[in-house]
């Protein structure tokens, strides 16, 4: 029996492309076949459920699952990258959507969204006992025009960090910081680093200004172009002119990037946010494990001052499930849930009882100075409905002064003029 000769067929490029395209298309369609192609969010009307849009860390999703287990209320969790949260909410609010029942809030978002009627006032829902449970002024940061719009969950507090390879004792004033920075700059090391990209130069400026008793705004009136303001900016400029600040400072657009450079071990001191302590002590991320200390932010004419943002939670005015949403707000701000948040995410809890919890303090010694820091001025410095525009103008002028392209006096005068034009004062 003779074997039939095997026909060797070459696969043409066209056939190959068609096959590859077909396979990839089938795979894509197959992978998505379970999701409706056209319609989304079709759920039973009688179902008790809420929808939340917030950041991606797994803890928040686990917390939502714990809420469902405790109350039977289903939670649809939309994880949205943090930098996109604001625009995502804005599109939904302006577009008249009632998709979200619970939203994350920051101090300045409260002013922006609250002034336009996008948020549900919760003033009447907050009991006097509840007010007592949170940090002093906690609800003030989340109020606009006499109404409270959010319940605080965590504090995004700027703290003073130093590397004990360079500095053994925390400096008390910004003059001390400058002196120490001069001593420890050289051989590839810098005494200090700032985060001056994006609009973060405002945070540094606020801290230096508040250390002199100044403030950026009094209501809607800009007050930063003052003797205190000029001294504060001059002080920041000294760190640049004396070349004790890492030149990368101007390119850094997030405190996380500054932290990564600090973790390399060539920076003596910096201002940064609470994530530093855990990161700097993680061998996977840091070369300075066990060498980081945190202290009260140095002062000038006042002993100390800082800057903080509040991570809060609120309810959109368009939500159709406000009572269920309020149940969620209460659940995630209980002491038990705040403690879990602090332990898992390293966020500074907004409740003093949790902040002083021995287990929390043992894991995050950097929280020990929070109570003392909160005795001094902190909070956001620009909380106007026009914050985005104001921040852009102000930070451009601050950076112009720090880069030496404008004098301190001219930069602050121009900033004031630009800001007044925006806020109409």
């Amino acid at each position: 029996m003779t074997e039939k000769p095997v026909e060797r067929r070459r696969i043409s490029r066209r056939r190959f492309i068609a096959a590859a395209g077909g396979a990839a298309g089938s795979a894509a369609l197959g992978a998505n076949a379970v999701g409706p192609f056209f319609l989304r969010h079709v759920s039973a009307q009688d179902q008790r459920e809420i929808t939340i849009a917030f950041d991606s860390p797994q803890f928040w999703k686990d917390q939502a699952a714990a809420f469902t287990e405790a109350t039977g209320i289903k939670v649809n969790y939309e994880d949205v990258p943090f930098p996109q949260l604001h625009d995502r909410y804005l599109a939904a609010f302006v577009g008249g959507s009632s998709d979200y029942d619970v939203v994350h809030l920051r101090d300045d978002w409260v002013a922006e969204f609250g002034s336009k009627g996008f948020l549900e006032p919760i003033t009447d829902r907050i009991t006097p006992e509840m007010r007592e449970e949170f940090i002093p002024n906690g609800f003030d940061y989340l109020s606009y025009d006499g109404q409270v719009y959010g319940v605080p969950r965590y504090l995004w507090l700027w703290q003073f960090y130093f590397n004990t390879d360079f500095v053994q004792e925390a400096p008390k004033t910004w003059d001390d910081v400058l002196t120490l920075a001069e001593q420890h700059t050289g051989d590839g090391a810098y005494g200090y680093i700032m985060t001056l990209g994006s609009t973060l130069s405002i945070n540094h400026f606020t801290i230096h200004l508040r250390a002199r008793g100044g403030e950026l705004f009094d209501g809607r009136q800009p007050t930063f172009n003052s003797p205190e303001g000029r001294e504060a900016l001059q002080e920041m400029l000294a760190f640049i002119e004396k070349e004790v600040t890492d030149p990368a400072s101007f390119e850094l657009t997030a405190t996380g990037n500054t932290m990564d450079i600090f973790n390399q071990g060539s920076i003596a001191m910096m201002l940064n946010t609470p994530q530093v302590f855990a990161s700097a002590n993680d061998p996977e991320k840091s070369k300075i494990v066990g060498k980081v200390k945190v202290a009260l932010v140095p002062g000038a004419t006042l002993p100390s001052a800082s800057y903080s943002e509040t991570g809060a939670i609120g309810i959109p005015a368009a939500s159709k499930n406000k009572d269920l949403a309020w149940e969620f707000v209460k659940f995630v701000t209980t002491a038990e849930q705040q403690k879990q948040m602090a332990l898992v995410l390293g966020r500074i809890p907004a409740r003093p009882d949790v902040l002083n919890d021995p287990e929390v303090l043992e894991k995050y010694p950097n929280f020990q100075v929070v109570a003392e820091q909160s005795q001094y001025k902190m909070g956001m410095s620009v909380t106007l409905p026009e914050s985005s525009e104001v921040n852009r103008v102000l930070s451009n002028e601050l950076v112009a002064a720090l880069r030496g392209s404008k004098s301190v006096e001219d930069a602050l005068a121009d900033a004031e003029e630009g800001v007044r034009r925006i806020v109409g004062e």
Binding site: G35, F38, R40, P81, V94, G96, S97, D260, N263
Partner: protein
């Protein structure tokens, strides 16, 4: 590079032997410039690739390290174990493919009409199509959100595909019209005289003749839809989010997971790189034949 080599070779043979030093200098200059441009273009991608094989602690080392002392594959392990990332890749493919196919189908007919047929107010209409490209996407975001919401298509694949047509379709019409104009009309006339309908002429004569342009236009439309971020960040939800949106989730409030983001970036660029490699011949022809005509 192959084209460059051929061109320089023909230049060299065309010139007299006594003046050989001038072409060789010219060639050296061209090659040198090409290498500089290549290095400038590829350096960020090379950096991305190298960084994706390094642990986080080495990413910020001073001086930076171009050559990792050992290959670190944990970043890729994390990416490939993440089902949401793979699902986002599939979503991106689905949306980009449908947006491309739809815009090619509709765009071919529109482009042909603009190129060959008598259409009332043709020029203003074409300028309107082009003008729609000038609008920043940000301006269209809220109106699109509202329209899709009322249409019941918000957060659906279909909604995002429709939104993507707003930029892929004008692009396709604009490019294909140029290709169609560059074709000799006599060929189409012959087809029509032989009894073919207008649609048959487009399908059997015009499209085969302009295949390089058709394919390269499709690829660029696909890449545009594949990379789009702003619309997808607002018009999708957890189930329908595309790859660029998923990639952005590595940027958190605390910090950015650069190491995983870099590895994911490499994985996410592979389908497009593969596509371009497969259709490279068409792209080169398409770019050189008629993209700038008309």
């Amino acid at each position: 590079m192959a084209t460059l080599r051929t061109e320089t070779k023909s230049l060299a043979t065309a010139r007299p032997r006594s003046r050989a030093s001038a072409p060789s200098l010219s060639r050296a200059l061209k090659v040198g410039l090409a290498l500089v441009f290549l290095a400038y273009t590829l350096a960020p991608m090379a950096w991305l690739l190298v960084s994706s094989f390094q642990p986080r602690v080495r990413l910020f080392a001073k001086p930076p390290s171009w050559f990792p002392n050992k290959i670190y594959i944990e970043n890729y392990r994390a990416v490939l174990a993440d089902s949401s990332l793979l699902s986002a890749l599939a979503n991106s493919f689905l949306v980009a493919a449908f947006a491309t196919l739809l815009s090619l189908f509709v765009g071919t007919l529109a482009a042909y009409a603009f190129a060959r047929m008598r259409v009332p107010i043709k020029r203003p209409l074409f300028l309107f199509v082009l003008g729609s490209q000038m609008l920043p996407t940000m301006v269209l975001l809220i109106p699109m959100f509202v329209v899709l919401r009322y249409a019941g298509l918000l957060y659906s694949y279909a909604g995002l595909i429709l939104a993507y047509l707003s930029f892929t379709l004008p692009y396709v019409v604009w490019l294909l019209r140029s290709f169609f104009i560059s074709l000799p009309y006599e060929v189409e006339e012959a087809s029509l005289v032989d009894g073919a309908t207008r649609l048959q002429t487009i399908y059997r004569v015009v499209l085969p003749l302009s295949m390089p342009g058709f394919v390269s236009t499709g690829i660029f439309a696909f890449i545009g839809a594949w990379n789009e971020f702003l619309l997808a960040s607002v018009l999708t939800d957890s189930d329908t989010k595309t790859f660029p949106v998923r990639l952005a989730q590595y940027i958190g409030q605390d910090t950015t997971a650069y190491e995983t983001m870099f590895a994911a970036g490499i994985v996410g660029s592979l389908p497009v790189v593969l596509l371009v490699l497969v259709f490279q011949r068409f792209i080169v022809h398409g770019l050189s034949e008629g993209a700038l005509k008309g």
